[in-house]
Every structure is written in C-alpha cells, then in structure tokens.
Symmetry: C2
Subunit: 95 residues, 2 copies
C-alpha cells in the first residue's frame, strides 16, 4: 500500500491536530472511549473490527465493561503511518 | 446471586486445578488465547461477549491481532468468586 511510510515526529504532531482526543505514546497513538454499558462498548468494537479487517490494519485494544482503550501503530514501519490516522478517523466516526 | 462469595486462597488454588491454563495474579485469574488470525480471535471474543453479557459478568480483556488476553475477577467481592471460574469454563469451551 502507498500509505505505509513511517511518519516523522513533525508529521505526527501536525496530523494529531486533525483528530480529537488521540494522544501519542512512543510509537502508538491511543484513545479511550467510554460507552453506556458493555453492550454498547462491544457493539462499537464489533464495528471497528470489521473496518480494521477490511483495511488489514488491526488495533491493539482492551475492554473493561463500558470502556474501550485503543492503540494504533504500524508494525511494518516500526512506527506510526498514515494508516493509523486513517483508521483513527474511521474509529471516531463509529464511536 | 448465590455465587457471589469471595473465595479463599485455598479454594482458589483447588479450583484452579480444575481448569487448564488459567493462572492467578492477585485478585484475578487470567489466560491468553492464540488463534489463527484476527477474524478467528474476534469471532471468539464475540461469542464470549454474549456469554458474559448473559451472565452479567464481564471480562477485562485485550486483543492484538490473533491474541486475546482475558482477566476475570469479581468487583462485588473485591476478589475471585465462583462466577469467575464458571465464566472461565464457558470461555474454554468457546475457544
């Protein structure tokens, strides 16, 4: 895919300005989502799972009852690529 | 529910003998499952989610591609109860 290029620190910082609530930790961008209950949280995860599978780009994520924590990174480049931001935008639209 | 009683260390140890691959860490029992790919891993999670919701007893869990890590504990008793072992057995049957 064209998108798999490791972004520089400056590119990551400026791209982070375009999405809400995502923060960078080392080579990942992450965000926590809180829903009304487990069914809502897992329903969201199911939607994200389908998008992730169709992009062949998968999150590292966790769930505890109504909370979902998502971390994104691109293993192929050992860092953060545009794929991560593209998936983050899709995730935000599903939340 | 009748099952919500905090188990003693001895009770937990002997109950752990009855299930495979689960280990105790403080007030949780946990296990890691590895599948062929993301679809298999998330498919498993979906089945577990339905069982957990029907028991009204939910895991703390994480997923990274084909791996699923599950931790169980019973908040109501600040410890491990029979509910956790009951869910663990159901999870093992779904894996």
């Amino acid at each position: 895919m064209n998108d798999i290029k490791k972004l520089s620190d400056n590119e990551i910082d400026s791209r982070l300005q375009t999405i809400e609530g995502w923060t960078r930790k080392n080579d990942t961008i992450s965000k926590e989502f809180v829903f009304d209950d487990f069914v809502a949280a897992f329903g969201f995860m199911t939607k994200v799972a389908m998008v992730a599978e169709s992009m062949n780009h998968h999150p590292d994520w966790s769930n505890a009852y109504k909370k979902v924590g998502i971390s994104l990174s691109t293993h192929e480049v050992s860092g953060i690529s545009e794929l991560d931001f593209s998936l983050a935008e899709k995730i935000d639209r599903l939340a």
